[in-house]
Subunit: 418 residues, 2 copies
Amino acid sequence: MRKGNKMIERLRGFRDFYPEDQEIRRNLFRTMEETCREFGFKEVDGPSLESIELYAHKSGEEIMSQMFSFKDKGGRDITLVPEFTPTLSRMVSSRKDLVKPMKWYSIAKYWRYEEPQSGRFREFYQLNADILGSESVLADSEIVSLSAEILRKLGVGEKIKLKINSRILLDAIIDKFVNEKRREVYYILDRWNKLESNNRDDLINTQGLDKNIINAIASGRIIKEFDHKELDRLNSILDYVKSYSNVSIDVDLKIVRGLDYYTGFVFESWDKEEKFRAILGGGRYDNIIEQLGGEHTPAVGFGFGDAVIENIMKMEGLWKLEKEKSVFIVQIDTTGREYSKDVARRLRDKGINVDLNVMDRGISKQLDYAAKMGYEFSVILGENEAKKGTITVKNMSTGEQSEMSIDEIENIWKPNIN
Amino acid sequence: MRKGNKMIERLRGFRDFYPEDQEIRRNLFRTMEETCREFGFKEVDGPSLESIELYAHKSGEEIMSQMFSFKDKGGRDITLVPEFTPTLSRMVSSRKDLVKPMKWYSIAKYWRYEEPQSGRFREFYQLNADILGSESVLADSEIVSLSAEILRKLGVGEKIKLKINSRILLDAIIDKFVNEKRREVYYILDRWNKLESNNRDDLINTQGLDKNIINAIASGRIIKEFDHKELDRLNSILDYVKSYSNVSIDVDLKIVRGLDYYTGFVFESWDKEEKFRAILGGGRYDNIIEQLGGEHTPAVGFGFGDAVIENIMKMEGLWKLEKEKSVFIVQIDTTGREYSKDVARRLRDKGINVDLNVMDRGISKQLDYAAKMGYEFSVILGENEAKKGTITVKNMSTGEQSEMSIDEIENIWKPNIN
C-alpha cells in the first residue's frame, strides 16, 4: 500500500484474514466454543493489556523476554498479554464470592515478539479452558477429555495423539535415578525430539549425566521399575480419557512444558507423525492464585492456539467452508428492486443469508457477481414476480430457473431424489 | 490482589468479564454476527497492532491523540488499533483480486487512551459492518437497515431512533446560507445537544455566526427552503429503511460525526430520550482506500460498540441470560462416578451442556453446588442407575425427582401442560 511513494504495510508476524479464510476460522472457534459449553464451561474474558508485574516470576523467562511491553501515557509499565493464565489467576484471586470449582473458557488474542515461522505468529488466537478450585484427578481427566473432544469434532481425532506426564513423577524419578540434576534433565527432555541422537549424547555428556538412565527416562522404560502414586493418577487419567474418547493417549516423560508455574500433571497434543509443533498444551498449576494473594485454588487447564491446528487441518483437507443456506438477489427492474427488500426480509426471517444487489448495474453483471462469489442460487425479481408475489430461483451451476412461492424456497436445499 | 504487600490490579479503564456478564455479552455478539450473516456479510479480521502511519491524516486529531502507541523491540512506531476503518482500507487496497462490492463485518477489540466514564472504556469491542465498492444509495440503505435490524433483534427497536445526514448536503446549506464558515458550523452542531441554550448562543456569537440561520440548520427547518439531490438521496434512504424496519428514523443536520474521512452520508443511532451517547455511528468514506494507494473504492459502514448498548439493555431489563439446556451430574458412589462419564457423553451428543462433579465431595455438597450455580436440573447417578442404564433427574426448584431413560431427558424442558 502506497502513501505518496511510501508503502504502509501490515506488521511482520501479523495476519489479515479475508473472508475465504476467516469464514473457516470462524467454524474452528465455533467448534471450540460449543464443545466447551457442552462440557459445562462458561465464558470469561479479560483485558488485552496488563501490568508487567503480573508476569514477573510466573510466566518464565522466555515469555518475559518476548512481550510487547511499553509505558502508557500515564507512565505505567504495561504489556500486551502473552498468555491467559496470569489474567485468569488475577481474576480468580480478586474475588471471594466465586462458587468453586469454576469451569471457564475464553477465546482471545495473545501477542509474543518472537521470530515468525510456520505455525508461529506474533499475534495469535488461543482457546483457554480451565477448571479452578479442584485438585481431583477428575478435573484433570475432564480437561484432557475436553481437548480430545474438540479435536474429534474438528475431524482430526484419529490423526493426533495425546501425551501426558507429571512433573511430580518426573522429579521423583530424577531424584531416585539421577540425583540433584533436575534442571539439566528437564532441559534435555524438552529438546529431545528436536535434537539428532548424537547431539543428544553430546548434551548428556556435557551435563555430566548417565546416558543409559536418560534414555530409559526418555523412552519411558524407567516407569516399569518405578512405583509412585502420581503414576496411578496418570493411569487413572489414561483410563478416563480412553473410555471417553477413543483417542490415542499415553504417558510420555519427555513432556515437561516450558512454563514455570506447572506443579504436577502436564499434557500436550501432537499430530501423530509430529510434523508440526504441539497443537495444544496445559497442565496443573496449583499455586499461582495463592501467590497472587488469592485463596488456595488448585487449577488445571490448557491453551489451544489457532496456528498449528490450521496447518494440520489444511494437510488433512479439512480446512474448507461449511455450506450455509444463502442466496443472492438479482433485481431485473425498478419494481424488482423495490420488491427485493420485502423478499430479502422474509428470507432472512427464515434464517437464510441474503445478499442483494447494491450496485447500479444490469442483470448479467449481477449474475456474474453471484457466480464469482460462489452463490449456489440466485433469486431473480422483476415486475412479473412482484405482481404475483413469487420468486424465480436460478441454480447457478445448472442454469435451471424455476418460479415458486417464497415459502417453497426451502425445497431448493433438499437432496434431489430423482 | 497482593504480591507481598503490593497489589497487582487491573489497569484503569479496562474490564474483567466474569461468566454472569460475559454469557450475556456473548448473546449480544452472537446477535450482531447472525444478523450480519443474514444480510449476506462475510467475516474478516485484522491485526490489533498497526504502523502509526496508517492513521496519519485519516483518523482525525482526536483519535491520534488517544492512541496506545509505542516503539516495538524492532524500533517500529506502532499502535494498538483505535478503530477498524484504516485496517479495513489497508486490506482492501492491498489486493486487486477482490470481487466488488464486498460486504464485510468484524467484531474485535479497540483501544483508546481517554478518560474512562459511563459507556466509555479504554478497551472496548466494536462490530464493524461495511459495503466496499458501491456508491449506490442501495448500499447506504442496506447498511442502515442492518444496524436497525440488529437493534430490533436485541429487543430495543422501539426504544431507539436513527438520525441520518449528509456532509454534502450540510456543506451546500452552509455555502448558501452561512458562507465560508464550515468548520465553525460543524463545531457548534457537533456539540449542540451537550450545550445549554445560552452557551450555544454565546458560541454562535463568538464564532461570528447568525443565530437565526444556525437555529434553522440545527432544527432542520432550513431544509424546507432548500433543494439538493443529496436531500433526495437521504429521502430515498428514509423510505427504504422505514419500509424494511418500522424503525424511527429522520434527517438531523446536527449529525456530523467526528472522523475526518467521511465524504457524504453519515448516521447515528440513539436511545429515544438521549440519556446515553450514540449507540452506533457511521457513514460513507469514498476516498480513503484510494488515498492508501488502492483502486477507487467508494465505501459505507458503521461501528457499533459494546458499552452504550449494554447500558440501554440494562435500563430496559434486557441484559439477562438466555436459558440453555444444561444439567449438573451428581455422583452418588464410585459406580455412579464411572457411569457419569458415559451419561455425560451421551447427553453432550444431544447438545445438552453437561457439567459434572470434579471434586471429592459428597452428594449434598454436590447438590449445593448445582443450586448455587443456578442449574435447573441435576442428574443423579449411582449404582441403581448404572445397573439399569437409567438416570434420576432432580428438579432443583421443586425438589421433585424422577427416574427415566437417557433419551427421555428432552421431556424435562417441555412446557408443563398440566
